[in-house]
Amino acid sequence: MSDAPLVFTPRPADPPPPSTIGVVGWMRANLFSSLPNAILTFLGGYIFYVVVTTIIDWALVKAVWEAENRRQCLDLVGRSGACWPGVVEWIPNLIYGLYPKDQVWRINIGFLILLAWAVPLWLPRVKSKVAIGLSLVLLYPLLASYFFHGGAQGVVWTALIALGGAAFLWVWLTTLAEMRFGLGFGALVARLAGAADDERARRIGWGALAALYVLALLVVSQLRFVEVPTRVWGGLFLTLVISGIGIAFSLPAGVLLALGRRSQMPLIRVFCVTFIELFRSVPLITILFMFNTMLPLFLPAGVEVNRLLRAIVAVCLFASAYMAEIVRGGLQAIPKGQYEAAAAMGLGFWQSTSLIILPQALRIMIPSIVGNFIGLFKDTTLVSIIGLFDLLSMSRAVGEDTRWLGLFIEPFFFITMIYFVFCFLMSQYSLNLERRLGEGQRR
């Protein structure tokens, strides 16, 4: 026996048994683990096969692609195949509603600007993402109203629209400057102008922004579009306008309401609780009716609030009440220690809430928030009841067209696909976001 201790060498790990890995292992574990499961697998496979082939048969194989009217479709295949020409003919209306055909390009430009505004948020090396995101939510709507609605503008409105235009210019100039030189737009101009110190650089930066604003002001005051009243807005365009504003409004409003509900100040808390409980206890359709028919009764005679605006306000308030409860749930999931650590380091309420608590809470809330957005997007179909021509109302109109009388299933199928694509993309994006933000947060 010597005094030297035994040396402990860990055993190398064995590979897992072959029957538990790979395709065969997966199938054995998940599809055929027992006789009942094997039977269910075959039964499920059969049902899936029947449903999918029936749909493909109806929508593609037996479908009619060219016809003058519904009669011709019925003569060709009866009801066993879809009659697509009616839908194809109505696609512009389904998308743009009754918007004048020669003005439709304005909608396209408006949405292209929206996309272009959002693109920098996904580009690497762009540092001003927070400012870009904020400007998108706060200032893009001004520019959108300029394109979508148009018409004569007062001085104030022109000034606001120019603000939106200048913000868009700034977003892209700063994006390009940051990607190319690693400097924001203002800082880059200051550098080029050879600013001596920080104070001068800041002044030159503001000067550059002012120049952008003047440029935008010149453009929007000269370039005016024909007014397209909101009563002819419709289709997918209208659906996107209502749900877009609802989504952009409900998240910040929901955060504020949720914080208010947890506030120590009784007045704020009571207001938030009342608002949330009131709007959550009433169906959206009732709120829409209330805003549509009863609001005018409370307003002084002669004050006319746009019907679309009434619907948007109703949707926004309803959605923020729901969002508030989701956010409150997220806030409650953050351990008290996080607040304490923030307080112990000298952070005030707004700093610790916005920098420590909300980033963590929002991340765990992503599935419910996006679920709420998806619900909101689909709930906008309810505005058809108060006489707005959203995507659903437009699709019903196809079957009321004299040439396509009774053609209802095909347009419904088509808009179902549109809704599905939008909602599926939202849901996939949320999963992707969750994964990216979850980096480093799992053990």
């Binding site: 220690g337 650590a341 112990a344 000298g346 952070l347 963590q360 053990r443």
Partner: protein, 247 residues
């Protein structure tokens, strides 16, 4: 027993109630600058409440708390500069999981002290080196072991350049193998002359590092003494019972 030198922390008749339950019963305690005080006692004795009152995570309802002679008034705005002289380390680390280790350390410097990013990172790296984990700076807290996380928490508190460090059971949530690495950092910190108040059950740490051991029970200070006296000749039966149970 009044320690020599200027007072860093003074508690004068501090009382605290949770509803009808009195957690602190008129505590008097003075901690001198550079002094290292270990607070021990059974659970529920009020030791954590006391340390949390010192940096106002809990508000006391009666009595005075003074930090370097300046009384806390309970108004967050007015107390903030006074409280900035204290740093706190928690039992459950409370690192911010959505920030890297480095960001955890620079965060308060840039947001509270408005320091430029580069300067803040320099300070943070210096403190991470001090707690011997500079190589983990780019990782996220949950990717580290408990001992490493607690050392990051210590570095994070030190970044704000406090003159007083408060430790609330810093090793209670750690695996035995990791306690030592945290205690080593604390012993080193003690060597720099930092004023320290440590709530802990690590009696070895108390013996070697503390100037004074305070024993609490039922919201009161039962007795306090220099460690050699405290461990060899406790005066109260309650202290003897406690020591017999944990040693």
């Amino acid at each position: 027993m009044s320690p020599p030198g200027k007072a860093a922390i003074q508690l004068i008749g501090v009382s605290k109630w949770y509803g009808g339950f009195q957690a602190l019963k008129g505590l008097d305690l003075t901690v001198a600058e550079g002094e290292r005080v270990v607070v021990c006692g059974p659970s529920g004795s009020g030791k954590s409440t006391m340390i949390r009152c010192i940096n106002q995570l809990e508000r006391h309802q009666k009595g005075d708390i003074r930090i370097h002679g300046r009384a806390l008034c309970g108004e967050p705005k007015q107390d903030a500069p006074v409280l900035r002289e204290t740093g706190m380390v928690f039992q459950s680390f409370n690192l911010f999981p959505h920030m890297t280790v480095l960001e955890n350390c620079t965060f308060a410097l840039t947001w509270v002290k408005q320091m430029p990013q580069a300067e803040a990172e320099g300070i943070a790296m210096a403190h991470l080196e001090r707690v011997r984990i500079p190589e983990q700076a780019r990782k996220y807290p949950l990717q580290l072991s408990g001992g490493q996380q607690q050392r990051v928490a210590i570095a994070r508190a030190l970044c704000m350049a406090p003159r007083i460090m408060l430790f609330d059971e810093p090793t209670s949530a750690l695996d035995p193998e990791m306690i030592k690495e945290v205690l080593d950092v604390m012993v080193e910190l003690a060597g720099t002359g930092m004023t320290m108040v440590v709530v802990t059950h690590e009696m070895g740490f108390a013996r070697t590092v503390a100037n004074r051991v305070v024993f609490m029970d039922q919201g009161e200070i039962v007795e306090q003494a220099a460690p050699e006296v405290f461990f060899s000749a406790p005066r109260y039966d309650r202290t003897r019972l406690f020591l017999s149970q944990i040693l």
